[in-house]
Each structure stands twice: as structure tokens, then as C-alpha cells.
Amino acid sequence: MELGSRQVNAITVVAPKGRIDHAQAPLFQEAMKPHVAACTINGGPLLIDFSGVDYISSMGLRALMLIARSVTAQKGTVAIAALKPTVREVLEISRFHLVFKVYDTVDDGLIALGA
């Protein structure tokens, strides 16, 4: 899976595209690995821009969960932003806001993370 990634001050913004379904979830997880590894207590926060994601399955949620666990273990900071309505619904049902900080837009996220 291709991840557009950019740097805003200390914050790394990654933007997955398309559907994070059963087949794509492992690829998403793999592509996120270097960014997750860099997201430590000393590294900058990680913001996942979901504006390009049309669908997320339970395996996609699992990938997000694993990202959250890794980052939490490293005492880093990760957040997601700009969810499409369908994806937002899935995340709300799954109560992912209890795991992730979720922002309405990327800019909101950047401001909140201290860019």
C-alpha cells in the first residue's frame, strides 16, 4: 500500500488511500511500520490522515490497534484525523475514540499536536 507521507515541523503526517479491508490490512500495517518505529518518546508525533480511506474492515481496525499498542509502548503519540462518514461510523461503533485521539481535520490535528 502506498502511503503519502510528509513532515509538518516535528509531526509526521501519513495518508493511506483506498480500502483497508481484509486483504489490504497487512499491507497497510507493513507500510506503517517505519513511521510507527520512529514514533517514540523522543520522535515527533504521528498523525494518520484518513481523508483518502473509503472503507475499513475489522482487520483494518486490528492494524490500527496494533499501531496504537506499539506507539503507546514507546510512549509516543499517535492520532487520526479527517475520517469519511462511513469510516467514522465504524470507528465510533468500535469505540476507537477510546484508543485513538480523533480530529475532524488534519489541521485540527496538527494544531492539537503542537505544530
Partner: protein, 611 residues
């Protein structure tokens, strides 16, 4: 007439029975006068001998392998001179006969020379003709060579020995290269009847006096019924004398075919080159193309053979090379066939093994499916005597096995526990975790925890044994069958639908928590709902709301709610479930299921006392 030489292709081993003296001896005694008169006449054989003495005549003789009444062991000849070797060396190379059929000694003495007429046949055909042969321990010329010697008045014919045997036969200034056994390949022509002079015409004086002047003359027999008929390589039946004539002609013209020693090496080389070419070219080709290629090669081979024969007077054995190359081609095509047959068998065996393996996996998956579905309680038989509530449930894995689960059982006489869960992912990994989750949830529930606490405790238990980091969304509920009080707890799961008997549809989407295993120590909040008689609570997994059609558009929560609401009038768990199932099936319309699908519906009928 003065011919150069006369050759007799006739054998005269016996005295003429028509000589006058012999005729007289057969007459009766009474014919004394006639007998005396006849006896006075000269003997025919003597007359012939006298005639032979007058002319340069060469008598024919024939080599015999077996002794007969008329054969002898030798005959009078002019010795042959041998250059570069001994008699025995020359004799070792030529065709030898122990016996010879020769003419009467009287005639032999009168003739100027004698030559052998013997020719061995190749098959039924005359191809090679020897110029020198052996009888006993004597080297003898053929009739043609002897005629040339007589015609040129030479003292002797000569034989040159080479490294391989006889290399040349020479008479006067004529030298003929031969095969090592003194044979030559005759370049046959068509028989020409114009060269024949009939004996009848000659005796009748119809032949001009100088017709034979300085010519080589052969006297022989021709005509039907002749024993001495020969087949030439051109397929012509000719009298033996014709072959002698053509031999003489060829000797003069130098028109002799040669098959030098190196020709055999050339043929071997051609065979190796052709064979190597076939071995190199044939295997990658299709049999049809390979055969076509071989035909081109054969045409080239025979063309070369014909060209060397026609223009160089050399004999190249194309047929031998053709036969050998055909064997090479045949074995190549044969081994190609064997190889392709072997590969086909290997492929078939591999396919067979694959099918067996697939069947084995399919068989195991089918067994796993039976076991998995068998662990789910059957609502039709679970509460046969229950009047206070009814339960309907459905679980359809997207694959053979799945990660969805439902369960329900009585905690005590009043309280019904039920659960619907969805393990992330699908297939075998999800199904294993589903089994663990279901068992742990049941053991926690039966431990005596109450309501939402069951979910909190189950979360801790399940999260502890989760190496693959799977997670489970889940809804648990405890229904008090006596009061209709329902205590729900939600872990990242779609909200339960409450279908009121009065017709309203409510979403129990209050507080909840994340899926199990997400946060290990999460205190799941309880969500209380009061049911009234006839109310139905409906739980689904996202296999329903996210069921995809072929265009990958989801079924959606909105359509699900609409179907549930419209089914209100029937107000029974079973019929509600059936109508949702039908609507989802109609929407998906045969697309491959994207996720496991689970429905659980419970209708509370009211606080009736159990029978």
C-alpha cells in the same frame, strides 16, 4: 575383315557332336560307304581351331566354385605382370575360383588368349565387374582386358599394387583405376541394338567386308530363352555379351565410376554431420516440423549423391546415410515422444496430488465447520417449553469456518444470558479465536458475574491469551424473564436494535467500550433497557450491515433498520430474522460473501409462569 580382336562369349568345353567322324560312328554298319566318306571329312573342332589360329581371338572361360564334369583346375593364359607386389599379394585381393570352365584344349591352343567372363551379381544386378581374377594360384585377366592385350599385341597385362590392394590394371598405354579387388563400377548405358550384327546376316554375306576392320568384336548369344541374361542397374535385361561390350567401351572412354577409399570416410562424415544436425535441431521442434526438416536433409543428401555420380563419376552411398539418419531421426522422435509422455504423466500426477491435498483440506475444513456450527446452541431445541421468551439465531461463515459467534443459556431460572461477537478477520485463525472467546465468555458468565461485569471479566481473560493480537467486538445481555429488565454491555459492537411491540425501533447505542483485547483493563459500562411484552431485541454482526453486493457497496445500517421496522407487525423473533436474512440475500445477489454474518433475535412475551 581384320578385326583388332575377337572375344568369344561362348564356352566350348565339349567336342562338337556334329563333327563328321562322330556322325559316322553313329551310323549303322551297313552304311560303310557313307561312314568312310564322312570320316574323310575334317573334324569341326579342328576346322574351328584352324580358323581361330587365323584371327586374333580370345576365348571366354568361367570361374566355378564347385567341380563339375566339364571343369578343370587351370587353363592356358598369358601371365599377368605385377608391379609393386607379389603374386600372392595380388591373389589375396581378387575374386578367386578353384575351378574353371574352359574350352577344349585344342581350341585353347589355337586361340591368341583367354579371359574370364565371370561376374558376381549384387542382388540380381550386375554393378561391379572384375578386371582380374584368380583361378587356383594363377592370376587371370577378364575377357575384356585380354582382348585389349591381344588387340594391342602387348606381351602382358599389368597390375599395380597400392597400399590397400590393387590400384590399377594396365594394358599397353591404357591404365584403369580399380577398387582394391580389381573390380570397377561400370557406368552402364542403354543397350544399343545398332551395334549388333546378326550371325545370319554375316553368313549370308550381307555385312560389308570392312565392317569389323580394326574393331573389337564380341561373339555371343542373344535372344529370348537365353540363360545368360543379365539385369543392369538401369533395370534393363541384356544378354551377357552386352555387358562385355559396355565394359570394353567404358575402358576405352575412361568412363568408369570410382568409389575411392575416402568415399567411405566422407559418408561417415556426412552421417556424423547429419546426425549431429538432427540431434541439435530436432528435439526443440514439433514432430511435424522435425520430419519436414529431415526430408529437406534427405533431399540434399540424395542430390549430392546424384551430383557426384553425374558430374564427378564418383559413387556416394546416399542410401546408406539415409537409412542411418532415419534411425537417428526415429530414435529422436521416439525419445521426444517418451519425454513428452513422461512429462504428461508427471503433470497428471502433480494435478492428482493437488486435488487430493485440496480434497483433504476441504474435508478438514468441512469437519471444522461441522464442529464449529455444532458448538452453537440450536434455538429450536434449546427452550422447547419456554413461554416467557423465544429465541431465533443464524450464523453463516463467509468461508468454511468463521470468526462470528453467538451463544445463549440460562444463568438461573429467571435470567437468560446471550452474547453476539465478531472476531477481527475471518477463516481458520478467526474461527480458533472465536472458539476460545465463546468458551471463556461462558465460563465467566457461569462464574456468577452479573451483567456488564461479565464483559469486563471476559475481556481480561481473553486479552491474556492473544498472541496474534486479534480483537473481538461483542454485545452481552442478561434478560430477566420475569420482569423484562435487560442489562446490555457493548464492546465496540454495532448497537442492539430494540423493536417495540408498539411499533417503534430503538437503538441501544448508549455507553460502551472498545472491542475486547483493545484495552485490557476497561470497565465496560452497563446499558439498561426495559422490555415490554412482545418487544424484540435484535443483535447482528457487521456481516449484515456491511454485506457487499458486486459493486462493493454495503447493505448499510439504514436498510437494516428499515427491514426490522417493517417486520414489526409479525413481532416474532423467528420471522424477523427470516425477513432480514431474505433482504440481505436479495441485496448481495450472489456476490461472494465478504464477512461472516450473524443474527440473534430474542422476543420477550411477558412474565408468564413456566409450566
Amino acid at each position: 575383315m581384320n578385326p583388332a580382336a575377337i572375344g568369344l562369349d561362348i564356352y566350348m568345353p565339349e567336342a562338337d557332336q556334329t563333327s563328321p567322324a562322330r556322325m559316322a560312328a553313329r551310323l549303322p554298319e551297313s552304311r560303310q560307304a557313307l561312314r568312310r566318306a564322312l570320316a574323310a571329312l575334317p573334324d569341326h573342332d579342328r576346322v574351328l581351331a584352324d580358323a581361330l589360329r587365323e584371327t586374333p581371338t580370345v576365348l571366354g572361360a568361367a570361374g566355378f566354385d564347385n567341380e563339375t564334369l566339364t571343369t578343370s583346375r587351370g587353363l592356358r593364359t598369358t601371365p599377368i605382370r605385377i608391379n609393386g607386389g607379389s603374386d600372392s599379394e595380388a591373389l589375396a585381393n581378387v575374386r578367386r575360383y578353384p575351378f574353371v570352365l574352359a574350352s577344349l584344349p585344342e581350341l585353347q591352343a589355337a586361340a591368341r588368349g583367354q579371359g574370364l567372363l565371370s561376374v558376381d551379381l549384387q542382388g540380381a544386378v550386375v554393378r561391379r565387374i572384375p578386371l582380374v581374377m584368380g583361378v587356383g594360384d594363377a592370376l587371370l585377366p577378364s575377357l575384356a582386358i585380354e582382348m585389349l592385350r591381344v588387340a594391342t599385341n602387348s606381351p602382358a597385362a599389368e597390375v599395380d599394387m597400392g597400399p590397400l590392394g590393387i590400384s590399377r590394371v594396365r594394358v599397353a598405354d591404357l591404365a584403369v583405376s580399380t577398387q582394391p579387388d580389381a573390380e570397377i563400377w561400370l557406368h552402364f548405358g542403354k543397350a544399343d541394338s545398332a551395334r549388333y550384327v546378326s550371325a545370319a546376316a554375316l553368313l549370308a554375306g550381307k555385312v560389308p567386308a570392312d565392317a569389323f576392320r580394326s574393331k573389337l568384336v564380341l561373339i555371343g548369344l542373344s535372344g529370348f530363352g537365353l540363360v545368360d541374361n543379365r539385369l543392369t542397374p538401369l533395370g534393363e535385361q541384356v544378354p551377357g555379351v552386352e555387358i562385355q561390350a559396355q565394359l570394353l567401351e567404358s575402358l576405352f572412354d575412361g568412363n568408369i565410376l570410382l568409389r575411392p577409399r575416402w568415399m567411405a570416410w566422407l559418408e561417415t562424415l556426412l552421417l556424423i554431420a547429419g546426425g549431429a544436425f538432427l540431434i541439435w535441431a530436432v528435439p526443440p521442434l514439433r514432430p511435424r516440423l522435425a520430419t519436414f526438416l529431415a526430408i529437406i536433409l534427405y533431399v540434399a543428401l540424395f542430390s549430392a549423391g546424384f551430383a557426384t555420380f553425374k558430374f564427378m563419376g564418383l559413387l556416394l552411398d546416399a542410401a546408406g546415410a539415409f537409412a542411418s539418419l532415419n534411425i537417428v531421426l526415429g530414435s529422436l522422435l521416439g525419445s521426444a515422444f517418451i519425454e513428452s509422455d513422461r512429462q504428461r504423466r508427471v503433470a497428471e500426477a502433480a494435478l492428482h496430488r493437488e486435488r487430493e491435498a485440496a480434497a483433504e483440506v476441504a474435508g478438514e475444513l468441512a469437519a471444522a465447520r461441522r464442529i464449529q456450527l455444532g458448538t452453537l446452541p440450536d434455538p429450536a431445541t434449546a427452550f422447547t417449553d419456554e413461554k416467557r421468551f423465544s429465541v431465533a439465531a443464524l450464523l453463516e461463515p463467509a468461508r468454511d469456518v468463521g470468526g462470528d459467534l453467538y451463544d445463549f443459556f440460562m444463568l438461573d431460572n429467571r435470567r437468560l444470558f446471550f452474547v453476539v461477537g465478531d472476531v477481527s478477520g475471518k477463516g481458520v485463525p478467526a474461527s480458533l479465536f472465536m472458539a476460545v472467546t465463546k468458551a471463556l465468555a461462558k465460563s465467566v458468565a457461569l462464574r456468577g458475574e452479573a451483567g456488564a461485569a461479565i464483559l469486563t471479566a471476559a475481556n481480561k481473560e481473553i486479552a491474556r491469551e492473544n498472541p496474534e493480537m486479534l480483537f473481538v467486538t461483542m454485545v452481552t445481555g442478561v434478560l430477566d424473564a420475569g420482569t423484562g429488565a435487560l442489562e446490555l454491555a457493548i464492546a465496540g459492537h454495532d448497537a442492539p436494535r430494540i423493536l417495540r411491540a408498539s411499533g417503534g425501533l430503538e437503538l441501544a447505542d448508549g455507553d460502551g467500550g472498545p472491542p475486547l483485547c483493545m484495552l485490557e483493563c476497561f470497565d465496560y459500562p452497563r446499558l439498561d433497557v426495559q422490555l415490554h411484552p412482545g418487544d424484540t431485541v435484535c443483535l447482528v454482526t457487521d456481516g449484515v450491515t456491511e454485506a457487499m453486493n458486486r459493486d462493493l457497496s454495503p447493505y448499510g445500517a439504514g436498510r437494516f433498520d428499515a427491514v426490522v421496522a417493517s417486520a414489526a407487525a409479525r413481532a416474532s423473533a423467528g420471522s424477523l430474522l427470516a425477513s432480514v436474512r431474505e433482504d440481505v440475500r436479495a441485496f448481495v445477489a450472489g456476490a461472494v460473501p465478504s464477512d461472516d454474518l450473524t443474527l440473534l433475535a430474542i422476543t420477550w412475551h411477558g412474565p408468564r409462569v413456566r409450566d
